[in-house]
Amino acid sequence: MKKTWIIIQREYLTRVRKKSFIIMTILGPLLMAGLWIIPIYISTLGQGKKVVQVLDESGLFIDKFVSTENIRFVPVLLKLEEAKQAFLVSNDDALLYIPRTELSLPVTALLFARSQPGIDLKAVIRDIMRRQAEALKLRAKGMDPEVMNSVKTRIILNSIKLADDGTEEKTSVEVSMALGLVGGFFIYFLIFLFGSQVMRGVIEEKANRIIEVIITSVKPFQLMAGKIIGVGLVGLTQFLIWVVFTGVLILGFQATQSDSIKNAPKHTPITTQKVMPPQQMQLVAEAEVEADKTLLEEAMEGIRQVNFPLVLSAFGFFFLGGYLLYAALFAAIGSAVESEADTQQFMLPVTVPLILSFILATYVINNPNSSLAIWFSIIPLTSPVVMMVRIPFGVPWWHLALSMFLLVVGFVFTTWLAARIYRTGILMYGKKVTWAELIRWFKYKV
């Protein structure tokens, strides 16, 4: 046990001190926080007041370009050429040119700007023009535009998870999907990353023959276990640093930017005719509050409703369990070959379940409670990824317990299996190893 501990220390320290580990550890949270922060940051960009000159030769739209908090519309009464010249010497952001037009035709307008005008700005202009064009057309057909507005309906569908005991919990499918997919992908990625580190470590020891020296000091199993645990601790260290760093970065960002998040552009509320029974009225009122939220706030709320302690601890467990299960197999492969180039034939059967589980993830995400999803989230070879995908959707506790139990059984079994191949493999040189050979090693009495 003491020797295993010495081996764990070496495996851990040599990896943690590597430059690549330090770089990954710093870059990881920056990337993850970046994924989170950049969209928010971008949506708060360009919030400065924009000035748009409007040259409306048709005269149909100019009244509707009413300045808002963010955009100031300035009417221009010049010829187009003169207007362009004037625009160029001004500091304004854009020049909108609406030529004379027939309403029956598609309305074409030109937006001149020194640089690419923002999508937001174009959307606002298009929206204003469309409404006015529609209103004009309706009026031409003898209809009141107000009627049209009152018919427009926005559907707000909130999903609420109803637990057996009757408690309700609001869920966001989108957030669950994203979280499940990200969690599943990370497990898949980390198992591959650290599993192949174990394999490379074993091959290194075999290739440079230090194995011959070490094997007289420790049992093969101690060496294999020490390496697997050491590398696993490296993975866990990296994971914890990432979680803490990412959390700090995001919280820090939110603290400094909370004002601009609140001011992010909002959906235009739709007025509803209030001729309804009171109960329905309340729902509608709630719905209006919902509708008043920005997409961002909706996502944020969905995220707040996620049971992060459960997701993170499940992630920790399924990463470790899955890693231990596969790392033992990777170690056995490493012991059977003499260089990384020879690993192909043995890698395939080991990686197939892992890749399968990742392919399944896209199906599971749409059908998290289908029997296929349930079975693959319980079978140890696929459970780390598939269960991780299911967890954000809510999983019955006994599914989770059974899956965790079987995963432990699974890695004990693969470790036992791998150890029997490993102890013979590490000292076998100069032989092209076949599957039959591996089975023979497995049966050797040592």
Binding site: K3, I6, I7, R10, T14, E204, N208, R209, I210, E212, V213, I214, I215, T216, S217, V218, L427, Y429, R440, K445, V446
Partner: protein, 312 residues
Amino acid sequence: MSLISVKEVSKQYNGHKALDKVSLTVPEGTVFGLLGPNGAGKTTLIRIINRITAPDEGIVFFDGQPLSATHISQIGYLPEERGLYKKMKAGEQALYLARLKGLSHDEALRRLKSWFTRLQIQDWWNRKVEELSKGMQQKLQFVVTVVHKPRLLILDEPFSGFDPINTDLIKKEILRVKAEGTTVVLSTHDMGSVEELCDNIALINRARVILQGNVHEIKAGYSKNLFDVHTRNELSIQLLSSLDAQSFELLSSSTRNGHHIYTFEIGYGQSPNHLLQAILPYAEILEFYEKLPSMHDIFVSAVKQQPINYPA
């Protein structure tokens, strides 16, 4: 007292016999040469003694007890194919391997510092192994094999790749640890070093021990009563014919570096002293010795099952 006693040990790999009822004993405090052509089964035997693999039949005793896991810390093994972690620093690596042998951190550090100083590699403590020359790496390797003061030291081709200076250094260290009471098993193809270092040998060929015993006794067993005389001046024809009449048959003569070298077979009822006395009045004698086969000759003859070629 024998430190290692191998009794009727057999081992098979996939139908191929690596060892076939091998028995040998290694007396404590001696250097034991384990000889044999490539593929004879030496490495398998060494692995069995190291408990890397177990025999199919037979048993190994360590200091009178059946070999068990507790004995492993009393063995130091320098494998033929040896390596180190290339990216690890020399000192750190030595410390790691010494601790795996059961030394405490402080004790290992203390001993390693003194070994590094003695072998003049102390300046390389903080250098990565890949930056070390091959000779330095081998010194480092030797240090980690002996640092835990094993009672049994197994060296498989310890001199391969060493220059003559480092070879002498390691030979000196082998004799030094022997003087401290360590038993050494030396597996090598370098017969010169066997003659120089080994007290006893066992010769393994095709999975069997074909020759075993004390080096001097084995050589004496090959004695054909051949003696070489080196003289300053040439021996006269008359003298030679008179010697022949006294049943000192001249087998060959040659001249090298001003020495006139004569090989005589001493016949029945005669002795080397009489030969010496017969020559003494007529020539200045520079060297006189019994011509014994070298370990090299014995090795080749035993493995090929051919008579030794006298005189060379």
